[in-house]
C-alpha cells in the first residue's frame, strides 16, 4: 500500500474534506431515493441520483484510504536539515527576486499557499539539494534557482 507523507496541517485539511463530502452525501440522500421504475421504464431521476451517490462514495473511499495510509512528516536529524526533503521550507533567489515555499506531497500541494508538489519540475529538481546550490529549470526557458535557506521550523 502506498504511503502518503503529509504535514500535520495537511492531514487536518484532508480530514475536513472528508467531512465535507460526507455532508454532501447526506444532503443528497436527504430528499429520499427516487423510485427505480417509472411505469415499466427505469426512472431517469433514479439513474441520475445513483450516479451521483456512486461518485461521492468513490471519493469517500479514496479519501479514507489516504487517511489510513498517511504518516506525518518528521523533522530530519540536525545534520540533514540543510538538505531539501519533504516538508522543507526553501528560500530561493530567482533573477533578483526572492521566493519562498514548502516542498510537499502532491496531495498537499497548492502553490498559491506556498506549497509546491515534490513531483512538479521545481519540486523534483530541488529535492536533495542544499544551501548554496544552483538548480536550473529549463522548459523552455532556463531559470536558475539559487538556494539561500532551507528550514524545517514549520513541521
Amino acid at each position: 500500500m502506498k504511503k502518503f507523507y503529509l504535514t500535520k496541517q495537511g492531514l487536518e485539511n484532508l480530514k475536513k474534506n472528508y467531512e465535507i463530502l460526507k455532508e454532501l452525501r447526506r444532503i443528497k440522500i436527504q430528499g429520499g431515493v427516487p423510485e427505480i421504475l417509472e411505469s415499466e421504464d427505469l426512472n431517469p431521476e433514479y439513474l441520475s441520483y445513483s450516479e451521483d451517490i456512486n461518485l461521492l462514495d468513490s471519493k469517500l473511499f479514496e479519501l479514507k484510504n489516504i487517511l489510513e495510509n498517511t504518516e506525518i512528516i518528521k523533522k530530519p536529524s540536525l545534520e540533514k536539515q540543510n538538505i531539501i526533503d519533504f516538508g522543507a521550507t526553501v528560500v530561493v533567489g530567482i533573477d533578483g527576486q526572492e521566493d519562498e515555499f514548502m516542498i510537499v506531497d502532491p496531495l498537499e500541494s497548492n502553490p498559491s499557499l506556498g506549497k509546491i508538489s515534490s513531483e512538479s519540475p521545481v519540486g523534483k529538481a530541488l529535492l536533495g539539494h542544499k544551501v548554496g546550490d544552483e538548480v536550473i529549470i529549463s522548459s523552455p526557458i532556463k531559470i536558475v534557482y539559487r538556494i539561500k535557506k532551507v528550514k524545517y521550523d514549520s513541521l
Binding site: 426512472n43 433514479y46 441520475s48 515555499f101 498559491s112 512538479s120 523552455p140
Partner: protein, 381 residues
Amino acid sequence: MKNVLEFLLNAGKLKEIPRTGFVWLGIKNPETIAQHIFRVVFLNWVLGTRVTPKINLEHVIKISLVHDLCEVYAGDMTPYWGLLPKDEKKKIEMLKRWVRLPKEVKERRDKIKFKKEEKSLQRLIKDLPFKIRKEIESYWLEYERMISREGRFSKQGDKVETLLQALEYWGDSPDSPVIGWWEEVEDLVDQPVLREFLKKIEKRFYHKGNVNGELDFFLELGKMKARPQKEWKDQKLRRYETVAERSFLTALLTWVLGEKAGLKMGSAIKMVFVYNVYEEIFSKKGNFDFVLDSNFKDETINLWDQVKKLSSFEGKFIKEAHWLIGYLQALQYFKENPNFPILDWFKEGKGIITILDLLELKNEMEEKFLPTKKRKILGIN
C-alpha cells in the same frame, strides 16, 4: 424559475468580462472569462481521459465549468493584485515574470482572495436549489483548495490552458510575457498527462515541430472562443455572443434544470459542448482529423448524433436548452436595441420548447424582457 433566470443572467456576465492579465499586457479584445472556461472544460475532459488511475470525468468537467464563476462579482483577481506599480513600464516588466513572495505573504493574500471569491460565488448561487448550490460550492472548493485528484487535475489544466492562450497571443518571442506563465506551470503542474502535453506545446511553439493532432484540436477550439454564433451573422451588434460563450451558458442551464428533469448529467454536459462545437467545426470540414483518440471520437460523435437526431431525452433537452440560451441573448440584444428583430425569435419559440421546466423558463424570460406593454407595441401576444 425566477432564481434560475437571474442566475443565468448573472453568470452570463462572464461573457463580457475580459481576462485581466491579458488586458494589462495590452492584448486588444482579449478572451473573456466564459471563453476561457469553455476551453478549460474541453482540455481537462480530453486529457483527463488518459489519467491513471482513472479520474471521474463528469466531476472534472463540472469543476472546470464552475472554477471561475466566482469572478462574476469578485472580478478576475490575478496573482498580481495589489502588487503592481503605477509606472506603466515597471508594471509591464513585473507582469512578464511570475510573482515571487515569502510563504507567509502568499498565505495571507490567498486568504483574502479566497474569502472574496467565496462570498462572490455564494452571492451568485444563493437562490439556486439547495442541492445544486452545495454541489457547486463543493466543486469550486475542490478546485480552489486542490483537495481531490479531480480538483488538482482541473486546476493544473486551467493553468495549462492559459499558457496555451498566451502562446497563441505572443508566440515564442523571447521578450514576451509568456515566460511568467511557464514559471507558474513549472511550480504547479505535476500531473504526467499534463506534463506530456506541455512538452507538445513546447515542441510546437518553440521548435516548430510536428505534434499529433490533439493540439490542433485545441487550437481549433481556441478559434471558437471568438467566433460569433451563426444566428448573429447578419446582425449589427455591439458584441457578438460566441460559440464558446453559448456552450458555457447552455451547460450551466443544463446542470441547473437537468438534475430535476432526471438527465444523465455526465453525458448531458458533454453533449452541450460537443453539439455546438462539432456543428461549427465538423459540419463544414466534415473530417475528424484532429481527434486522434478513437474512444473519444466515437463517444463524442455519438453524443452529437443524439442531439441532431433527438434520439435521447438528453439530446432533446440540449437542443431546446441551446435554443433557449440563444433566445435569452436575443432578448438582451433587444433590450439594448429596440430595432433588434426579436419578432422572428418570438415566433420561432412558439413551438420549439416542449420540456416543461424549459417552457417555464422561457415564459419567465418573456415576462421580463417582453412585458405586455412591449408586446402590444410589437403587435404580438
